[in-house]
Amino acid sequence: MTPQHHPSEATLLTYAAGGLGEGLSLVVASHLAFCGECRAAIVSGEQIGGDLLEALAPEAMAADARERVLAMIGSEAPPPPAMPAPPADPTLPAPLGRYLNRDLSAIPWRILGPGLKHFEVLPHDLARGNLRLLRIAPGRRLPRHGHTGTELTLVLQGSFSDALGRFVRGDVAETDDAIVHQPVSDRDADCICLIATEGPLKFESPIARMVQRFTGV
């Protein structure tokens, strides 16, 4: 099914430019596997990059640059083996499969709260923010929270709803500092999402803030 919710055009353009951190980039790359429309947008964004590259005033190369590159070509090792196929879990888009390197059913979840588990995909200093999987039990209401930067949430399984609509597999919810929301997972199944944030969440409840201090969410 074609996704109904996408990263914003600003986010797609910044991904094409190479300006998104690794965590946000992984969410975008994974959404692209679900969404031909956004793939076309990325191609347009990269065309902007190509045009801007060609428009730059050339910088003189070193005197021996041509020789050095010809030498690289001359001593070229046989082409590296093709990237191994991504892990077999058919529910995971390839870019995410490479990061997880295991099936979704084999994730070592850690409990975050009642009905709520998480798994850190990248240590948060590396992700320039957070990159984690969140597993939400059916019908669970998350604490109301705001954001300090852009947050991208890709649904992998199940669904959730908030004031912006209902989000199913392949959909991306993008929120930022202008949005405070309280997502609720739908009642039929566990909802599993990939979430990347640029900055810490801002919880309204003091208890949620205390949990945050211990879990780094």
Partner: protein, 216 residues
């Protein structure tokens, strides 16, 4: 596709005509005489015959521009020099993966330079779509005359970029030439994040031809 941006909407209305004049400072105008020739056949010669002369033609045109791009993004001269040689070596090695139906040679080389820079200078991985991912949802059905329009599209993008209002051109160049995220752009320009995002969105729509030529 985008969410409501309370700060942005107002900013757009005054973004149009008044600021239109100084775009030339933002996005360099490629000299018409130096417009890149059709380079796709050079890549084909590399794939078919390992033709070094074709490669060197590409090298002479693109290596100095890749170096300029890397320096714009803050790399020191020696780092930009080495990395632009690496980018061109990758062009040689990956020539077979170039798909002329998808993008121009400059666009393809831009993606190689962008990704190598992220790997080498930001020390991060660059997650990318994998075109042969068996899980890939199919592309939307192409328009019947889409292919014929590819070169027109490139020309349109080029013209539209240079016609962007200054506030939009500014955020586009900060994203591409300075490698900045929305948050970094917002901090540097002392603007709300929502304003930066809506300027990027408008610029992108305009360049993609999704806005009428006279829309703000």
């Amino acid at each position: 596709m985008d969410f409501a941006v309370p700060f942005g909407a107002g900013a757009l209305r005054w973004g149009g005509a008044a600021l239109f004049g100084r775009w030339a400072m933002m996005i360099p105008r490629a000299d018409a005489a130096a417009a890149p020739p059709m380079f796709a056949h050079l890549l084909r010669a590399i794939v078919e015959r390992r033709d070094q002369a074709s490669f060197m033609t590409l090298f002479d045109y693109y290596a100095p521009r890749v170096k300029a791009y890397l320096k714009r993004l803050g790399a020191a001269d020696s780092v930009a020099e080495d990395l632009s040689q690496d980018v061109m070596f990758a062009v040689w090695r990956k020539a077979a993966s170039y798909d002329p139906a998808k993008a121009g040679v400059g666009t393809w080389i831009f993606t190689i330079a962008r990704n190598l820079r992220i790997d080498a200078l930001r020390r991060e991985r660059r997650p990318e779509l994998e075109p042969d991912d068996p899980r890939l949802a199919p592309d939307p059905a192409p328009m019947p005359d889409e292919e014929a329009e590819a070169s027109q599209e490139v020309a349109h993008i080029r013209a539209a970029l240079r016609a962007l209002p200054e506030d939009q051109a500014k955020v586009v160049t900060m994203a591409f030439y300075d490698g900045k995220s929305h948050g970094e752009i917002a901090a540097e320009l002392a603007l709300p994040l929502g304003t930066v995002k809506s300027r990027l969105r408008l610029a992108f729509r305009r360049v993609r031809g999704l806005l009428g030529d006279h829309a703000a």
